[in-house]
């Protein structure tokens, strides 16, 4: 009788261990909030414009985050999920526009304008330096043979 009870207790203990192991395994497959938000922060919901999906409080956004969680648990990676959302809702849901077509302008124009600006500043500064030097020299040593200066000095002397 005693050995039978021991066997039952042992079987129950084994069952409990097995159940907890399976539950633990299931929970480990479930993506964490941080993992979901890592994808969500690179997406925007068209309903609440300019609010990243990871901080958007609406029900629509909550559903989107649930969908991200579901896709992650199915083994999808970040890029696959972003592509899925772009295909479903359009490129405007992406925080970063895809590098194709007219979108390239977003990536190309700012560096061009920046480099153009740097070039212009360089040109302006490099042309100013010699001018400054020339004016200093002129002020320090006025041309002695200048007939206008001579005439001016004579005029001033004669008025004294």
């Amino acid at each position: 009788m005693k050995s039978r009870r021991t066997k039952i207790a042992l079987m129950l203990a084994l069952l409990a261990i097995a159940v907890s192991a399976v539950t633990g395994l299931a929970q480990s497959n479930q993506p964490s909030d941080d993992e979901v938000n890592a994808v969500a922060k690179e997406l925007y919901c068209p309903v609440c414009e300019n609010i990243p999906l990871d901080v958007c409080p609406t029900q629509a956004c909550a559903q989107w985050r649930d969908l991200i969680r579901q896709k992650l648990s199915e083994g999808w990676n970040k890029e696959q999920i972003k592509q899925y959302f772009a295909a479903q809702y359009g490129d405007r849901v992406l925080a970063e526009p895809p590098r194709e077509g007219l979108n390239w302008l977003v990536y190309i124009l700012p560096p061009i304008f920046f480099l153009g600006g740097v070039f212009l500043v360089y040109r302006v500064l490099s042309n100013r330096k010699p001018l400054a030097k020339a004016s200093t020299v002129d002020a320090a040593s006025p041309a002695p043979d200048d007939p206008y200066l001579k005439r001016l000095e004579e005029e001033l002397k004669s008025r004294k």
Partner: protein, 190 residues
């Protein structure tokens, strides 16, 4: 007098030396003009008004949740009711039963087609919504929000009525409050 001429010549040559090469000025000007043209095009596109009553509705295709492809062009000669909705939209729930009831009332006649366009929604929730309200007319996601952009909808629910001639006949912003209201709008187009 000679002195003045010399000074002018010197300053012109200095200016030329200090100025940018002509090709850079032309290129910068071209980039600037191109950039402004692009901004103008974008603004013009963004400010285009929605389809007005009487305008021909541009063609679109709805890919339904059950895999059908419904083209507006194939529905010429029928009254098409396009209803934008979402599972997260509470006002949409108010009109869901009315929409289904009016669809059932008109289905046998074959003159009226209902199309449900699920806007910015997730598929599992959308399917649950359709099941919950027992909606039987064709419904599908607004892929890449292309259909809603045609109508330039502001939110959901919004319903558009396309006449037998393919032109926008009427629309309703917000939920229908009764079967009679929705049926009345359809009857005016028959």
């Amino acid at each position: 007098m000679e002195k003045t001429v010399d000074n002018t010549a010197i300053s012109e040559s200095e200016n030329r030396a200090r100025g940018l090469p002509a090709w850079i000025i032309v290129a910068a000007f071209a980039i600037l003009v191109g950039f402004l043209a692009l901004i103008a095009w974008g603004l013009n596109r963004a400010q285009q008004p929605p389809i007005q009553v009487g305008d021909r509705v541009p063609p679109f295709t709805l890919s339904t949740f059950d895999g059908q492809q419904i083209k507006l062009d194939d529905l010429d000669g029928k009254i098409v009711v396009v209803n934008f909705w979402a599972s997260w939209c509470k006002p949409c729930e108010q009109e869901a039963a009315e929409m289904e009831q009016v669809w059932l009332n008109n289905q046998a006649e074959g003159q009226v087609v209902f199309l449900g366009v699920d806007w910015v929604d997730t598929e599992p929730e959308a399917k649950r919504y359709l099941q919950q309200f027992q909606i039987t007319y064709p419904n599908g996601p607004d892929l890449r929000t292309s259909i809603s952009q045609l109508f330039r909808i502001k939110g959901v629910p919004e319903t558009y009525f396309i006449g037998k001639d393919g032109r926008l006949a009427d629309f309703k912003i917000g939920p229908f409050t009764s079967v009679a209201e929705l049926q009345g709008m359809i009857n005016r187009l028959k």
